[in-house]
């Protein structure tokens, strides 16, 4: 079983300087409405508070 999940690896969470939170690897994401997404391949979550599509980054931090 675990072998089949082998494509997914240990989760890496990276705070990108002056940018979003990048999450890759084996993780689940639950949004504010409590919808859970299993194993997305990668997400970029807004950390500046300005994104128009929260919780995701929409590059508003560059403005």
């Amino acid at each position: 079983m675990e072998e089949n999940k082998g494509k997914k690896s240990h989760a890496i969470v990276e705070v990108i300087e002056s940018g979003p939170l990048k999450i890759t690897g084996n993780f689940t994401l639950t949004d504010v409405k409590k919808n859970t997404e299993d194993s997305p391949s990668e997400v970029l979550l807004c950390l500046c508070g300005k994104s128009g599509s929260k919780p995701y980054c929409d590059d508003s931090h560059k403005m």
Binding site: V15, C46, K54
Partner: protein, 170 residues
């Protein structure tokens, strides 16, 4: 786990058989209601300054609810009871520090991470993961941390409750 948790909550916690009181010093604005009303429990001149045996649970809850910030908050140790708490309980963690909820949940198994985005609040990371920040890399196992999502935290990348002060909304 205990250690991680304390660091995450940015303060200390005190409990009796029925409730846990959380103290978050960074949020204190020295309104002094706590020790004026209940010096038997909240005595700034004593260490530790909170003595949960100094009054009944009911009295402690009443006084914690007087705190105008999230410096003092509380929860029932019986998680079921927390679900039924009403809004009259102003300083229950449900209303002031939702990031502390569900801390008795089990962690994801093995090499896995649960990412939860709290409404108008931080991102909660729970489980096993590597955090890369500012050129540093740190391993977390069976851990829980909260990441600032409003951009205003003074202890980046971690949440320090500023989202409430600046009125951050999704």
């Amino acid at each position: 786990m205990d250690k991680e948790y304390k660091r995450f909550s940015g303060g200390r916690r005190y409990n009796n058989d029925e409730i846990t009181v959380y103290w978050k010093p960074s949020a204190c604005i020295h309104a002094t209601y706590c020790f004026k009303e209940l010096i038997e429990v909240f005595d700034p001149g004593r260490r530790p300054w909170v003595d949960m045996s100094g009054a009944t649970t009911e009295k402690i809850i009443d006084v914690v609810n007087l705190c105008p910030t999230e410096a003092l908050t509380w929860k029932w140790n019986d998680e079921e009871k927390n679900l039924q708490v009403g809004e009259d309980q102003l300083n229950h963690i449900k209303f002031k520090r939702p990031e502390l909820l569900n801390t008795n949940e089990t962690y994801p198994e093995g090499d896995s991470l649960s990412v939860k985005v709290l409404a108008d609040g931080p991102i909660i990371l729970k489980g096993h993961f590597t955090l890369i920040h500012d050129g540093n890399q740190k391993e977390y196992q069976q851990s829980m941390i909260s990441i600032c999502r409003c951009g205003a935290s003074n202890r980046q990348p971690f949440c320090d409750g500023q989202h409430r002060k600046i009125g951050f909304h999704d």
